[in-house]
Structure formats: C-alpha cells, structure tokens
C-alpha cells in the first residue's frame, strides 16, 4: 500500500467512530446515498458552470466550492423546519444542499430571468427563503451579523431552531464578525458560526493572515467552540449535530472551524500560481477529497456499488448539462425588469401607501 492510500485507509479507520455516532448510525441506506449523491451533484454542477464560464456564458466572478462539498452538504442535511442558513459568495454548495434545483441556479449565473434571483444576483447571490436559505453574500464577513439576526428572529418568535452562518477563514478578521460573536454570546442567540477554513483568504494563507487559531477566538467571547475535519461528511454531521442541539435546545451559540480545501482558485479569475503548489492540491485531492472519502466509506459499508457510483455520476452530469441547456434557452431579463424588486412597496402596488417619486433619472 502506498503512503497516500494508507492515508485514506487511516482516515476511514478513524471515521468508523463517526459512522457510529447516532446522527449517522440512524441514517438509512437511501439517506446515505442521498448525501453522497448531493455532493456529486454539487461537483458536477460546478464543473459544468466552469465550462460555461470559460465559454463566456457566465459573467463576473465564479467562486467554486470544489473540494469543500462535505461541509455544506453535511451541515444542510441536518436542517430542521426552523433551522436557517446564510453564507458568503462561495454559495453553490449550500444552495444545492438546502434543496434548490440546478436549473434556476445555472440560469442565475447565465444572467437569465429564470434564475433564482431573476438574473439580478449572479453566482455570489443565490437565495431561497422558502428553504430557509438567506444567501449568498458578496462582502467578506458582511453576512455574519445577518446570521445573528436570523437567530434573533428564531428566538424572538419562540421557535426551536438555529441559524448556521458560514464564512471563510478570511472572514474571521473582519470587525463585523467579532461584533456578531459578541452579540450571540451576550444574548444567547441560537447561532453557529461556521468557519470553512480552506486555508486561503483569496491568495493569502492562514499563516499570513490570521493570528492564533480561528475557532478558539470564541473563548474571548465566552462562547463554545469546536474544530473538525471537513473531508469526512460523517464527522461534519456529528460535530454540527452536537452544536445544533446546543443552539436549538439551550440557545447556546458556537463557533466551529471546519478544515477543508478548495482545489480551484479563489475565483475563476485567480490564476492560482502564486501562493501554493500543485503538489499541495494534488495531495488533498488524493487523500482527503470529500467525495472520494465518503465513496470509500459507503463502499466499505456495502451501501454503494460500482454500478451505483457510476449511475449517480452519470445522472449528475446529465442534470448539470440539462441545467446549462435550460439556462441557455431561457430569456434575459428586460430593461423594465431592472427597476423591479428594488422596493417591496413598488412590487405590491395594491398595498402602496407612499406617494411621490421613488425612481429617478
């Protein structure tokens, strides 16, 4: 056995424990396959979107989640009726994780009227309030106070639920994040601040951007914190289930750092040749790829067969291709559409109480 293969073997050996955690042990075969399938769907969706970007069908930025799938899918798989999610601009995985279909997501990136935000948000701004998904936010760390607000709303309404507010490792140095930490701890808000640590804030490594360890900063706010490996979806689920339970049952907030990795640049515009080596990327891909890791676990459990792996992959590719076709064939928004969805009141003329001019030339 080569050294790299043994790393996977070691990993799966250590994950046996996580597979026995009640939250994972209680999963039936279909649910396990579904977790795997969703990760594969995220990856195929993003690979397809990258091709569309390279073909100049998608404008602006494209921040790919490839390599991090177990984090969003693991976390979102635990959502109950009153649990909510908000994240930053690397938001495709969470969108699919909460159950958004591929067609409106791809169409959004194509800038089409059939997009989930009618072509007004783009790749960084996916939303689906009907699935408790509140975006999709462009400014590093800017969404974290909103996450505290979702938790405030849950608590104010007397509901038993939690908000998961995701950020990258670069966001932990933003002031708004620390303000939101303080409020959550001060007021016992049911929020989990999830740091998806992929090692790089754009092109700056953690070592060059953040003093100390990331989640441990919660101690300064007298807040619970935890760390976990994001390459194993069972471990993500076990850790997050614990923290979600604390939040839902006791209104206790937490910070969790989930160690993960992205294979692609910060965005597609990042040439990715200045700050890390190809070897580093290859090493992760071979030893810790979340899809490969879970595939092996489920294969060993006898849940996945080669034929099933093949068919899941084929279906995911076909679904992503169909989404690209749907996006391609969809119409663009119109010039008139530019001025819609700005004000609730203008969009609901039957309830309008204001007077005067609201749009200007």
């Amino acid at each position: 056995m080569s050294k790299k293969q043994s790393a996977i073997a070691d990993k799966s050996a250590s994950t046996t424990d996580f597979s026995k955690a009640p939250i994972n042990a209680s999963l039936n075969r279909e649910q396990k396959i579904d977790l795997y399938r969703t990760m594969v769907r995220v990856r195929r969706f993003e690979e397809r979107s990258l091709r569309a970007y390279q073909a100049k069908k998608i404008g602006g930025f494209l921040h790919l989640y490839i390599g991090q799938e177990a984090v969003a899918i693991g976390c979102c798989s635990l959502m109950g009726k009153n649990d909510h999610v908000i994240t930053a601009y690397r938001d495709h995985g969470h969108a699919i994780g909460v159950g958004m279909p591929m067609n409106p997501l791809m169409a959004e990136m194509y800038g089409k009227a059939t997009g989930c935000s009618k072509g007004k948000g783009g790749s960084m701004h996916f939303f689906d309030p009907s699935r408790n998904y509140w975006g999709g936010h462009g400014i590093v760390g800017g969404q974290i106070p909103l996450g505290a607000g979702l938790a405030y709303g849950i608590k104010y309404k007397g509901l038993k639920g939690a908000a998961m507010a995701f950020m990258g490792d670069g966001a932990v140095n933003q002031g708004a994040v620390h303000e939101a930490y303080n409020l959550a701890s001060l007021w016992n808000l049911p929020v989990i601040y999830v740091i998806e640590n992929n090692g790089y804030s754009m092109g700056t490594s953690q070592q060059r951007s953040s003093a100390g360890s990331l989640a441990k900063r919660a101690e300064g706010y007298d807040m619970n914190w935890s760390e976990c490996d994001g390459s194993n979806i069972y471990e993500v689920r076990e850790t997050m289930n614990r923290l979600l339970t604390l939040a839902r049952e006791q209104c206790k907030p937490s910070v969790v750092e989930i160690k993960t990795y992205r294979y692609r640049g910060h965005s597609v515009a990042d040439p990715d040749n200045t700050y890390r080596s190809k070897t580093e990327i290859e090493e992760y891909r071979k030893t810790k790829d979340p899809i490969s890791v879970f595939q092996k676990i489920l294969h060993d459990e006898g849940v996945l067969t080669d034929a099933l792996i093949e068919s899941i992959d084929t279906e995911a590719r076909a679904e992503a291709d169909a989404a690209a076709d749907f996006a391609e064939q969809s119409p663009y928004p119109t010039v008139e559409d530019i001025s819609k969805d700005v004000y609730w009141e203008e969009d609901h003329p039957e309830h309008k109480t204001s007077q005067g001019r609201i749009f200007f030339e």
């Binding site: 400014i139 800017g142 106070p145 700005v342 204001s354």
Partner: protein, 325 residues
Amino acid sequence: MPLITYREAIRHALAEELSRDPNVVVMGEEVAQFNGAYKVTEGLLEKFGPNRIVDTPISEAGFIGMGIGASMLGVRPVIELMFWSFYSVAFDQILNNAANVRYMSGGLINCPIVIRGPANGGTNVGATHSHTPENICANHPGIKVVCPATAYDAKGLLKSAIRDNDPVMFMENTILYGDKWEVPEEEYLIPLGKADVKRVGKDLTIVAHGRAVISSLAAAQQLEREHDISVEVVDLRTIRPLDEETILESVRKTHRVLLVEENKPFCGVDAQIAYMIQEKAFDDLDAPIKRVSAIDAPAIYSPPMEAEQLPNPQRILKAAIELLR
C-alpha cells in the same frame, strides 16, 4: 390640541406601534435602562419590557446587521443610532445588505427595518458627530429616507415608516427635540413621499427639509416683515420617495426658487432637486435656482462659527434678497 415636543412625538409613535404590532422591537445604545441618550425612548422599557426595548453594546455594524437579519424573518426592528454619524461604521450593513438584499434575491426578501436617530450639526460636537447623510442614503435604491421638521410630522411619518415593508432611514434633529408643536391625540399617519407647504407665499419658493425648514420659516417671516417679500416654504419631509409635484406647483406659482439644506452642497439633496426643477419647470423660472447649504467644510467646532456654517436665517435671508434683486 395638546402641545408636545418633537421628542415626545417620536416616543408616542414608538409606543403606539409597539402596542399595535408585537413584531416591533426598539433597539440601540442606551435606549432601555438609560432611557435614551436623548431621552426619546424614556419610559418605554418600563412599559414594554426588555424583550421589546433592547439595550445594545456599542457595536453598530453588529446590531444593525442583526436587525436586518431579524427583519428578514419578520421581526420589525426600529433601531436607534445615538447619532446618525455612527452609520458609517455600519455602512456595509445598511447600504449593502439592507439596501440590496431584496434586489439580489430577485424580490424574495424584504427588510422592514427603521433606523432612526439625530442627523444634524449645530451642537458643537465637531465633524465626527455632525453628519447629515440623507443624500448618501437616498443615493441607494432600495432605501427610503425621511427628515421630519416638526413634532406632528415626526410622529405621523415614524408610524408610517415602522409599517413600511422597506428599509427606512429616519433622520431627526437634536436641536428640534425640545420644540413644541400641536399634535392631535387621536391616531394619524402621514404617508411617505408627501411634502407639506409650511407657509404660503407668492414671490419666492424655499424648498427645505429637516431643521432647515425651521430656519427658512424664520427667514420668511423676516423677509415679509422687513422686505415685503412673500415666501412660500415647501417642507420635503421625505427625501426618497420625493414629492416632486408639490415643489413644481410652488415653482409655477412663484417662479423663483431657493433650495436650503444642512447637507454639504456637492451632491446634496438639493443638487437633485435643482436638476429636477430645471428639467420640468424651466420656462417657469424667472431667475436661476439658488442654494444655501452648509459651508463646504467638515463641521467646525467653534460655536459661533458652526452657527454660520449651517443655513441659518441670516444666510437664507441674504440669499433670498440676492435672488430677488
């Protein structure tokens, strides 16, 4: 009709809306136990309890962002900024998140949040505490901006703002907090986007908002008394939406316009209004539009000079006479 202060009028509006809608929450620095830095929220904690009247740490980006997030779930936070000047540390939350989230979600989300507090100079607190950001906020589609000048307007407009399903920036004035006005006891609402002719005249239209309305009314009295000039004063009350018709109606009557505001002149609210008037009432104008704004420098501390920097009645009077010459 009872006389109450501008401060009391705002408090009454808050109390009435808190009673009417259990989703309304008042939060901000010192709003509860301290009774409000300017005593606007005095007594509300006692009446509504700590779940509805919430003291926050000094952490504007945090609690305003939190309020925006809560508003997405249907809570209706009315957030006090001790000074509107402090909005700059929450700029991203207000003008990226609250202003844009509806648009970026293709209309799936709305933020029924009010951010209120004093936005004025004239109290000798220096440049960091004297901002009047109504122009900056109104520059962001998705945001509404209200600047009441009287107790009556403050109450009726704040009640409308709290019921509004879009984010409303409500800008008060510490110098006006103690001014007493007639305010009816029975409930009333003033719609956003409706200007008010505070004084009827025929020779000159002054368009103003906030405390500049009060200074303009004082100047108008003196112009009438000493110079036999009849001035009409149009109080915008709301900056966005903007009541263009009331302005134009007055311009068509007087044919001369003086625009007065506490804003700095460059890209001030009145720059937009001047553009609008020349476009829509060019043939009605008998003289170029004139403006009186704050003298274009950061707010000076020196008390007598700060009074000069702002559009006081003397500066308004002088500009009016020049315009009519």
